[in-house]
Structure formats: structure tokens, C-alpha cells
Amino acid sequence: MSTIAEHTVGHVHRDDIGSRLGMWLFLFTELVLFGGMFLVYAVYRFTYQHEFHVAAKELNTSVGALNTIILLTSSLTIVLSIIAIRKNNKFLSVFFQISTMVLAFGFLVNKYFEWNIKIHHGIFPGSETLLGKGNGEIIFFGLYYVMTGLHALHVIIGVLLIEVMAGYTIKGRINSTNYVRLEAAGLYWHLVDIIWIFLFPLFYLIT
């Protein structure tokens, strides 16, 4: 079976550079999506400086820092999975991809508990407790839920993507000579990481 694949691969047109460039173009649309939200954040952060500081005290810095460590490590494991497949080490590549998914799952579990505690304290969009606070705090938590929520959605999409890539790697569709799909998934995952790099200090570290 492998001999058939070797014979056909030479005839299939493939443009890895074009594929990666396409992925980058998509990432730019993500940059605009999150960039716009960061702009909204900037305006209200300066308009309601004091209230943002007070509101941020509600957030747990340790959970935020832990999630930063988890996400940075998952970025490392996904890049190592690409190196492993380039070295033709299928087992190690799949292992690193699964590690990335496990770390991402840990991130989401943390996020779940974090949001859960907030909601138990009555802090969620439209709640009486929150509406009783000042405008700045309402906006802070609105932005907090929308931005970390949209980011968490990207984490979920990233996990699904990597899951598909792990399947491809096991089946051999991603291999040492054809790994551009894994690279694209990796690029997406790193973007998710970069967004968190900015979310973390802006929401958790402003007390």
C-alpha cells in the first residue's frame, strides 16, 4: 500500500508554502476580530480606570497564571509534534499532539471552575449583583466574559482541529514528507496562545 502512495504522491500537485500563507491570511482575520475587542477594552480601561482595578480584584491571578503556563506548554508540545513527524517519529508526534489536547482540556476545566465561581457569586452579565455595581465594573465583566469566552471557543475549535490531525497522523496522511496540515493546525494553536498572552495581564494583573 505504501508503494502505491509513493508512486502517486509525485503526481499530486501540492503547494505547502501557499497552504501556509493561506492559513496566515486567515489568522489575520482573527487578529482583526480580537484586535477590535482589545480596542474596546483600551477605551473603557482608561475611561473607568479605578472601577477596572476594583473589578479585576474579583479575578483569581493564580488560576490565570496557571492557565498561561498550561497554554504556553501546549504551544511547545504542538511545535514538538511537527518536529517529531519531520524526523519521521510518528509515535512521538501523536504523543505530543495528545499532550496538547490534554493540556487544552486542563485549560478549559480551569476556565469552567473560574466562571462557575463568578456565577455563584452572582457576577454574570445581566445579574442583579452586577447591575448594582458601577458602569465600569459592568463593562469590565462584560468584556471579561466575551473575550475569555471567545478565546475559550477558539481553544475548543483548536482541540477539535488537533484531534483530526492526530487521526491523520495515525493513518499516515500526515507524514514526514507531507505535514502541512499539522503546521496549519499548529499556527492556529499558537495564535490562540498569543491572544491569551495579552488577555492574561490585561484582565488578571491590573489590581
Binding site: 504522491v9 509525485g10 500537485h13 501540492r14 503547494d15 505547502d16 508554502i17 501556509r20 500563507l21 496566515w24 491570511l25 489575520f28 487578529l31 482583526v32 484586535g35 480596542l39 483600551a42 477605551v43 482608561f46 475611561t47 491571578t61 497564571a65 498561561t68 503556563i69 504556553l72 506548554t73 504551544s75 511547545l76 511545535v79 514538538l80 511537527i82 518536529i83 519531520r86 524526523k87 514526514s176 514528507t177 502541512v180 503546521e183 499548529g186 499556527l187 499558537h190 496562545d193 498569543i194 498572552i197 495579552f198 492574561f200 495581564p201 490585561l202 494583573l205 491590573i206 489590581t207
Partner: protein, 99 residues
């Protein structure tokens, strides 16, 4: 195997070491951000946090996202995208003069 395949596969010998090193630096910078956040620098606090975040993003873009080994086209594309983001930030701040 035609040239197109070779172009992307034989760029350089892949090694794990550099990525682990970058990861260690990223961890260190995270530690610095958390530690610095406890100290009140006044207005510089935000600037410090953002500077560290920008350094971290640069490392992720250059090494993890392989911009270092990509062609000039990629670097120009990213540069243009960031330039437009910068323009929107600049225009916004010209509208809301906070300082």
C-alpha cells in the same frame, strides 16, 4: 519528489532544543509579569505588562510559528497586518486622548 516538495521539507535540520529553550524563556517572562504586577509603577505598570506580552508574542511568532525560516513574503504579510492594527490603535488614541 519534485522541487516543490523539497522546498518545504529540506529547509534545515529539525531539532527540539531551540523550542524548549524558547519555552523556558516564555515561562520566565510569565513569572516576571506576575511578579512585576505586584509592584505599583503607576502609569508604567500597563506599559511594562504590554511590553512583556509583546516580547512573548514575538518569540511565539518567530520560533513556534516558524516565521524565522519562512520566506520574506510571510514576514511582509505579517508586518502589513500588524501595521493596520497599529493604525487603528493610533487613530483610536487620537480620538480619545488619555494622556
Amino acid at each position: 519528489m519534485n522541487g516543490e516538495h523539497l522546498e518545504s521539507t529540506v529547509e534545515h535540520k529539525p531539532t527540539y532544543g531551540i523550542y524548549i529553550l524558547v519555552w523556558l524563556v516564555l515561562m520566565m517572562l510569565t513569572g516576571v509579569t506576575v511578579a512585576v504586577a505586584g509592584i505599583n509603577f503607576g502609569n508604567i505598570t500597563v506599559a511594562t505588562a504590554l511590553t512583556i506580552a509583546i516580547i512573548k508574542s514575538y518569540l511565539v511568532l518567530t520560533f513556534f510559528m516558524h516565521l524565522k525560516t519562512e520566506t520574506a513574503t510571510f514576514k511582509i504579510f505579517v508586518g502589513v497586518a500588524l501595521l493596520f492594527l497599529l493604525i487603528s490603535i493610533a487613530l483610536l488614541f487620537s480620538d480619545y486622548s488619555f494622556l
